[in-house]
């Protein structure tokens, strides 16, 4: 491929300490390279003078593929109907938008916002084959998924029996079999309790029905396994008690239960509430206490799960939560349980400015961005589509970069929010560099994707170029150009090329002495054959790409 130059852009590349440096960038064969010696000329030059250049965006926690997302698409024709249609062009497929876009539309809409990598955060391993098929049909983006393990019966049983090594080997086998990227824990033990006919589990030391195992034991076991397998991304946790008043205590307890192990806490906004569980009116923000904890514990990172006002779809691997939301909203509800592995709940939801709870959730999300001191440990997310669709990211950027705008919105939402949060006292405004950190450089680093989120030599040439615009929402809504692996894929909002994108996964290896036991278990309790469970590389979008594991780095 040809040598290409991006000339004279104002570069925000935090991983390489470039903060608004005016410079040329070069790439060849989809990879960033040094500028050539004298005499060698680029075959293409894109003039970026006066424009802002960043690495392509990286969404570290979203829901874009697999059975849960597809059930949501099927359940919500009205949501597609209300959205602007995604028309076919000579080089693109048609599709539907709304809170749960069709696969092709997902790729185009993300790329249109300057995002080039997205990680689906909750896939049952049994649905890996289905998810990889959808990834095939999700263009442009590089993709990966995390597998649900916090209610996996085999893993829970091994942990309950004190056989940590078996749990770890099982995790390695499961990651390889499903061609997944990392381990996700959703409401540890609570989903299994729901499936066993209980309501839920509410404390870290409550035992799961039928098994002497507690959320605390599950969290420790899987956090340790993620580290011992050398996974590029640590265990990714959706805590118990999502959405309930007073759940901040559970969140602190979860972080303490990890005892210094590395972890990522997902959509932390939904886990940061003070008040009494029995009294919805006591609802208040507990972010300052939690943010202090994060500020003093470098081994833990978060993404926010920002709520933005409007209509969206709640979807979760947390089965009892889906039922809870159905009870609260009275809307239609889909639940789907996967044998031995996971649950799922889907409910439409509208976040309203005049709803006290919704407006407080909005404020709590913003408090998180503004109170955590180290932006490298706060991933920008709406937990798409739970808090809002990813297409609302420009609105979020505007709220973070402009305190005047933020106050205008705060002044029109439910008035009690100003009593129950400290948002009105927070003057911090994000800089472009900090936006570049929370939307690409930080998530890439937290995911351990070493060729993403930066523009140094050897990085993938995933580049987004924005017009410099004081209207930050407009600036981030319509990038001037987007390159994916060196190819110009978006030009002024128009898709110019439709590449496939790669699916990233890990091959951590595992002690294969455990295989006979897994196989015996599998053939007793699953309904498909052991041999028909794993997917192979032929299933992977773009043939797949392996993110290396570092087993030498076991205990930091």
């Amino acid at each position: 491929m040809t040598l290409t130059r991006i000339r004279g852009g104002t570069v925000h590349d935090p991983a390489n300490n470039r903060d608004g440096v005016v410079m040329d960038l070069w790439f060849r064969d989809g990879v960033m390279v040094e500028g050539p010696g004298p005499g060698e000329l680029p075959s293409r030059t894109h003039d970026a003078s006066g424009l802002v250049v960043m690495p392509g965006g990286v969404d570290m926690h979203c829901h874009i593929a697999g059975p849960k997302v597809n059930l949501a698409r099927k359940m919500r024709p009205e949501d597609h109907r209300e959205a602007a249609p995604v028309r076919r062009t000579p080089i693109t497929r048609s599709g539907t938008a709304g809170s749960v876009p069709s696969t092709f539309a997902t790729g185009y809409l993300y790329a249109g916002l300057g995002y080039t990598t997205a990680v689906d955060a909750a896939i049952p391993p049994l649905a890996a084959r289905h998810t990889h098929e959808e990834f095939h049909d999700t263009p442009i983006l590089d993709k990966a998924f995390l597998i649900l393990m916090g209610n996996n019966y085999y893993a829970l049983k091994a942990i309950a029996e004190g056989e940590y090594e078996r749990a770890r080997a099982f995790a390695g086998w499961l990651l390889e079999s499903s061609r997944a990227y990392g381990i996700k824990v959703v409401n540890p033990g609570g989903v299994e309790a729901w499936k066993s006919g209980w309501n839920n589990i509410h404390s870290l030391d409550e035992e799961v029905p039928h098994l002497p195992v507690t959320p605390r034991m599950i969290l420790r076991g899987l956090a340790q396994a993620s580290m011992d397998l050398g996974l590029p991304h640590p265990v990714h946790i959706h805590c118990n008690n999502l959405g309930l008043p007073g759940n901040a205590a559970t969140t602190i307890g979860t972080m303490e239960a990890l005892e210094g192990r590395r972890a990522h806490l997902a959509h932390i906004q939904f886990h940061s509430y003070g008040g009494e569980v029995s009294d919805q009116a006591s609802f208040r923000s507990d972010v300052p206490r939690l943010a202090d904890w994060i500020n003093s514990h470098p081994e833990v990172s978060v993404d926010v799960g920002q709520v933005l006002f409007g209509s969206t779809t709640s979807m979760t691997g947390d089965g009892p939560l889906g039922y809870f939301l159905h009870q609260v909203t009275g809307r239609k509800w889909t639940s789907a349980d996967t044998e031995m592995e996971a649950g799922c709940g889907i409910v439409p939801i509208v976040y309203k400015e005049k709803s006290f709870v919704h407006a407080l959730q909005w404020a709590i999300g913003l408090e998180w961005y503004l109170l955590v001191k180290d932006p490298w440990r706060v991933g920008m997310s709406t937990d798409h589509p739970n808090g809002a669709s990813f297409v609302a990211y420009p609105e979020l950027v505007a709220l973070l970069m402009d305190r005047g705008y933020r106050r205008d919105v705060l002044n029109r939402v439910h008035p009690r929010v100003r009593e129950r949060s400290i948002l009105q006292d927070l003057d911090r405004e994000y800089t472009l560099q900090e936006i570049a950190i929370i939307s690409r450089a930080g998530p890439a680093r937290l995911l351990g994707l070493s060729t993403k989120g930066h523009l140094g030599v050897g990085a993938d040439a995933d580049i987004t170029i924005y017009n410099s615009d004081r209207d930050r929402r407009r600036m981030f809504e319509l990038p001037r150009m987007v390159f994916k692996a060196g190819e110009l894929v978006v030009d002024r909002g128009e898709i110019r090329a439709e590449s496939r994108g790669l699916t990233w996964h890990v091959c951590p290896g595992y002690d294969d002495g455990v295989l006979p036991d897994i196989r015996r278990w599998f053939e007793s309790y699953y309904t498909i054959r052991f041999r028909n469970y794993p997917v192979d590389d032929s299933c992977l979008s773009g043939g797949g790409a392996v993110s290396p594991c570092d087993r030498g780095k076991r205990n930091p």
């Binding site: 597809n70 693109t92 599709g95 539907t96 289905h130 509800w333 349980d337 031995m340 498909i528 028909n532």
Partner: protein, 436 residues
């Protein structure tokens, strides 16, 4: 184009863990003994499955026909591309009897040519999809039933007749984590017009009145909520039997209702599904209760999934304006043809010429039809262009979805002289300029 499948061999080969696509159960423990490129024995398969595996492959039929005359594949693909490109209102119909890989290409063709796309045959399946869109769904994979179900209700279906291994693998005798005694670990109820004739041997039989599925479900829901049934109401089935069933449901920890086509007409079947789903929502206040459609053979669950992820809608999609619009009824195959709207059709492994109403059939006979199938049908015989395909699963690889949306890899056992549906569709896709 190349032919598919493993190399021919004269010795005896064993293909294990093969997947059967005959009835929707997708049994994936089939052992195929293959000799001289023929399946000699399909171990573990039920009689229906064995028949599917052992069926004589098509032989002697040309790979492609144009106007009833043998043609080269390339010429037939070009002619198919011409017909579909020139059409002003093309229809793409079928898909449920093909791999997901073939389905994905068929949808890409529909998108490129701006076709009306429909997979829902018979229509009632589409209508249950609409009930799902109104209420939601409480669904689980079949392994959850095997491991946990202590009450299984077969409503308007008799698995012994339609899904012979459903009971042993998933729902009746299956032994699982919390059901170690299999049949003794669970109660079985059967709700239907007549008792089964297949040895189901339920603990409870509820005789249903013809066409009264909705009434019976609504009465059951009222009983479960503790309401009195007023004298003179039409309960749809003997009240005492419904009361016994509601008691069994109240006493279960994990119940599942498998919903067959029931006894109702297609026109009100979405109300039946709606009532079953609403009842399941109620029951989840106290325990777990699930409703699963008893889907039929082939890969209809794959078609549902593929059409949904590519367009956002499961069936009844019109792409003629350049983007997907959903309106079952208006955009359903039978209606589109009956109204004389379509001027060409791509039929993927379905036989509308013998299944649709007379008005639809009459119009289909008058327009340019491109038909692909695994053997001769009324539709392939009358099509302008037709292709014979290698049987999927048996001779070509690909992905098949079980009735509960679990996806499985087909394991081809024999070699076919015919191309796969995916290969033919890829050729047509290139001819109409569809994107891969």
């Amino acid at each position: 184009m190349t032919t598919s499948g493993p190399r021919a061999s004269s010795s005896l080969n064993l293909i294990s863990d093969a997947v059967c696509a005959r009835c929707g159960c997708a049994c994936d423990d089939i052992e195929l003994l293959v000799e001289a490129n023929r399946v000699r024995e399909a171990r573990n398969a039920c009689p229906m499955g064995a028949e599917w595996f052992l069926a004589s492959p098509e032989a002697g039929l040309p790979k492609a026909l144009i106007g009833g005359r043998e043609a080269s594949l390339d010429a037939a693909v070009a002619e198919a591309g011409r017909i579909l490109s020139e059409a002003r209102f093309p229809l793409v119909h079928g898909l449920a009897n093909a791999t997901c890989e073939a389905q994905r290409v068929a949808v890409s063709i529909a998108d490129r040519i701006g076709a009306c796309l429909d997979t829902a045959m018979p229509l009632h399946r589409g209508l249950s999809g609409m009930a799902f869109q109104g209420v939601g769904e409480i669904h689980c994979s079949l392994g959850e039933v095997k491991n946990r179900a202590d009450l299984v209700i077969f409503w308007g279906c008799d698995p012994g007749r339609t899904h012979p291994r459903h009971g042993e693998r998933y729902s009746i005798g299956a032994k699982g984590l919390f059901t170690p005694l299999g049949r003794q670990s669970r109660r079985i109820a059967h709700v239907d017009l007549l008792p089964d004739s297949s040895g189901l041997n339920p603990d409870l039989f509820v005789p249903l009145e013809q066409g009264k599925d909705f009434e019976a479900l609504w009465t059951l829901r009222a009983l479960l909520r503790g309401h009195e049934i007023p004298a003179g109401a039409c309960p749809g089935a003997p009240l005492e039997a419904l009361r016994a069933l509601s008691d069994a449901m109240k006493g279960s920890r994990f119940g599942v209702l498998f919903l067959g086509t029931g006894t109702s007409s297609a026109a009100d079947s979405h109300m039946v599904v709606d009532a079953a789903l609403a009842m399941a929502l109620d029951l989840n206040r106290h325990s777990r209760f699930y409703v699963s459609p008893m889907r039929g053979g082939g890969n209809p669950a794959g078609a549902d999934n593929v059409v949904t992820w590519q367009t956002g809608y499961p069936f009844g999609v019109h792409l003629g304006r350049g983007y997907p619009r959903f309106n079952p009824g208006e955009f359903s195959t039978e209606e589109v043809l009956s109204r004389g709207e379509a001027d060409a059709a791509l039929v993927v492994a379905a036989d509308p010429a013998s299944e649709l109403n007379p008005a639809a059939r009459k119009h289909l006979a008058e327009i340019g039809v491109v038909a692909l199938d695994y053997g001769e049908t009324e539709t392939t015989r009358s099509a302008r262009v037709s292709f014979m395909l290698a049987p999927y699963g048996l001779a070509t690889p690909g992905t098949i979805y079980r009735m509960d949306d679990v996806s499985l890899p087909a394991r081809p056992a024999v070699r076919s002289a015919y191309p796969s549906a995916e290969e033919v569709l890829r050729g047509i896709a290139r001819a109409v300029g569809a994107l891969p």
